[in-house]
Structures are given as structure tokens and as C-alpha cells.
Symmetry: C2
Amino acid sequence: MHRHCRSSSLARTWSTLRARIRRLQHASPVTSPIDATAVNVPLRFIATKSHRAMSTATPAPELQEPHILRKSVIASANWVSLKKIEWVDPRGVARSWETAERTTRSGDCDAVAILALLKGGSKPTETVLTLQYRPPVDKLCVELPAGLIDKGETAEEAAVRELKEETGYHGNVVRTTGIQVNDPGLTNANMKLCILDVDRTLPDNRHPVATPEDGEFIDRRLVPVRELLAKLEAFQQEGLAVDARLMHLAIGLNLSGFLTDTADGSS
Amino acid sequence: MHRHCRSSSLARTWSTLRARIRRLQHASPVTSPIDATAVNVPLRFIATKSHRAMSTATPAPELQEPHILRKSVIASANWVSLKKIEWVDPRGVARSWETAERTTRSGDCDAVAILALLKGGSKPTETVLTLQYRPPVDKLCVELPAGLIDKGETAEEAAVRELKEETGYHGNVVRTTGIQVNDPGLTNANMKLCILDVDRTLPDNRHPVATPEDGEFIDRRLVPVRELLAKLEAFQQEGLAVDARLMHLAIGLNLSGFLTDTADGSS
């Protein structure tokens, strides 16, 4: 049975799924019977492939869109609340999930992180990292400059402000990503990443002065972008914690060495 | 006053800080009076630079290592608990922080994510992404295959198992990162990333069959690694949520276009 979808975002998701599947057929090579069933099946079947993979030759039952029945607050503190989600899976089975949510979100995005690219002069492109003690992990953490987006503020405005506050550098936004979800199995916390160009030759950027908020104690480190992964591994070996998003960016930057094909896609 | 550090991990962090600073002097160019004070100051001053930056010419008071006084459980559910951390900042000010913790961690690492590199044959290197509904964000999410590390299991064993369960592919681990913290301002949740080589020419990998756990409905998509960022942006435009770690990896993979210097570091 095809249930009415009670979530607008979920409705958007499902209503665009068929179009996505059509468009991505070439992008997502069909390499197995499982994928083969994916590209033209009725919308309600889209979540069934892994089920079919483990099922017998008998056809799978019709599946429905998963949807949330209700969310209840288990506990709400000043900045974080713990909630229980009761939802219905694609087979119609009622299930529950627990999630942590920030209480501070004003728009559709919690935070922005800043990848600053320091250019100008003869030095290679550098980026600036922040080092600060993080109570949740009880360690000094290596991260990209970042902060929560204030009410009425755009991600780009927050990025320029936070980079200046945390590192003293003034930059110009050259790119902003779409919303990314930080840890979707645990929380709805999300973010955008802004890439900022920082002109090292500007007077303000020669002697940058950070202006942290009360209670912020943020150290900074400049690292040549091409050496980012090696520097992060050095931080880890010395007992510091490294943010997963920053580490993944560094791994992507170094991934060419793991690929057998060339940049033009040929083998 | 130099307080005794009550946290072993924090103790490790601070005890290695002087060595790190010494080693990273060349890696982290001293470009401002702030950084200049960083490299040879007494250990207890390491967190004071941003304070100094906003202070007057009068010397900053001696700072101490931040440390946790106590952690109390606000609420604990089946999989997630919400806790209040009372901690002392580098200026000796008592502060509180709220954090969400998984109740499932058995070792020092919660989870593993898998970057599978499908090689062999004439096609370019591909990776496999998972699509699954995530109640915390109420959307279909695009992620790397991933899962919690079982008790007594290594990250590598979990990576091979989860890749097989979620996608049907069998791979061999070629690299494992150190522990990465997912969202250190909000949670202690952490992970390792394993890079696995998958031989597309093996019979088992020609027609991979996923074996998801009960309640898992996981779709998969193969994407040429070099097209990863464009594909993720296409998913976002179609209303799907993209995991921040995956997105950052794709941005790193495409970062060369934003750099003014060449791979050998020259401008």
C-alpha cells in the first residue's frame, strides 16, 4: 500500500527519487541484478533492493516510504536535547530511533566550517587550522575554523565572521557547499563548508589578530595544503584529536595516489 | 597556578604539547606575534594566545590546563545518553558543556566507514555509496558504507564485514586512519576510515549480493571516484542529504583546482 508521506522533506525526497534514478542511470553503472532492478521499478520499491538481495526468488512484498510517526523529547537541556523518534520502516514495521539535536538552530543549518586558502607571495597555498580543548572528547582538537550560524546570518557571513574571530584572517568566500549532515545516524546536526581566499599580502593578514568570544581559547596553525594529511597524522600521533571532516578532506586531497586511472578517467 | 591534570587523555595531550610545538615550528610558519609567542612559551601558556590577542599590553595571567571536574547523566536511553560536563577553562573559570554519547561503544572507537576503490577491467576507479533513510534527519542519506565496530572486532574486520553486508562487495583493507572525532563540539562519537581495494574481476564482485541486517534498507550507487563531488551535488539538488565526511572527502579530491601552487609546492 502506498502511504501518504507525512514529512515535507521526506515527500520532497521521494517525489524526486524517480527523476534522480532516471538521471543517474549512466552515472551509476548497473553492475548487478540488484542495481538492475533499481532503475525502473515503481517508486515504492526503491528501498527494497537489499531486501530482495537476501530474499528467495519469490517476489518481495510491496514496500512503502519510511516515515516518522512522532518525535518525543526524552530530555532537553540548554544546548542539546535527546529525542525518541518513532518511525515506520519500508516494510511497515514500527521502529524507534534515538537522536541528539541542537536546541540552537534558527534556520535550516546549524553551522559553517571554513577552508581558508592563504595565497599570495612565494609560499605555497596554506590553510589555517584551529586547536582548542573540546569537553565532549576531553582532548585538544584539530579542526577547521567553524561556528554556529547566528539568527538572520547567511553561511557566508558567518564564515567571514568566524574566520576573523578565531584566526584574525580576513577572507573572501569563493565557494559554499550545500548542507551536509554531520553524523546522520546519531543527530540532525548539519553544516555548510565555505572555501575562502585569504590574501597574505594584505596588511590585515600579515599580522592577523584573533578576537575570540568569552570562554574561547583557540590556537591556530598554518599548514601547506599539500601537506595537510601528513600534518594531521602528526597531530594524531602526538595525542591530539582530529575532526573527521577535516581528516576526510585531507584524505581526498591525497587520494590520487590510490587510483589506478588518470585524471581523464582512462585506465 | 599549575593544576594537576585529572584526565589521562588530557594528560597525554598536554605532556606531548611541548614536543609537538617544537616539531611543528617549521610545519607551522610563525607569521604573527601571536604565533611567535606560541612556540617557546611555558606549557601552561599554550592556550592563552587568543586571549593575549584581545588583551591589552599588560601580560596575560598564567593559564592552566582545561580539565573536567565531573560528568553527570542528564538522561540515558537505549543507544544515546545526554550528559552535562562541568569543566574548568584555561583561566580557571568553571563552565558547563552538554554532550551526547553513544551507549554502545565497547572499545575506544565507535564506528568505521569504508572507502571502497573498485578496480580492474577497463572502467575508471569507482567507489560504492549507500543510500538509506535516516530518522534523525528524516531524509534519504548518501553516505560511505559504515557501521559500528562490534565488541572484540578490529576496525579492519568491521570494515570488511560492513562492506559485504551493506553492498555485497568483498574488499581488502589497504589503509586505516587514526581515530577521527565526528563533531567534537557536540559528541564524543568517533570513527576510523578504512580504504579497501575491491577487485571487480572476482566472481563474487561481479554480482555482489548485500546481506543487510533486519531493519536495514540500504540502496547502493557506484560512482567514478573522479566524479564524486559532481554526483554528490546532484544528489543534494534532488533533495537527498549527503554525509559531511563523504562531502569533505570529495571536496579534497577536487581541491587542486583551487590551489595556485603546483603539486611540488612551488608557486
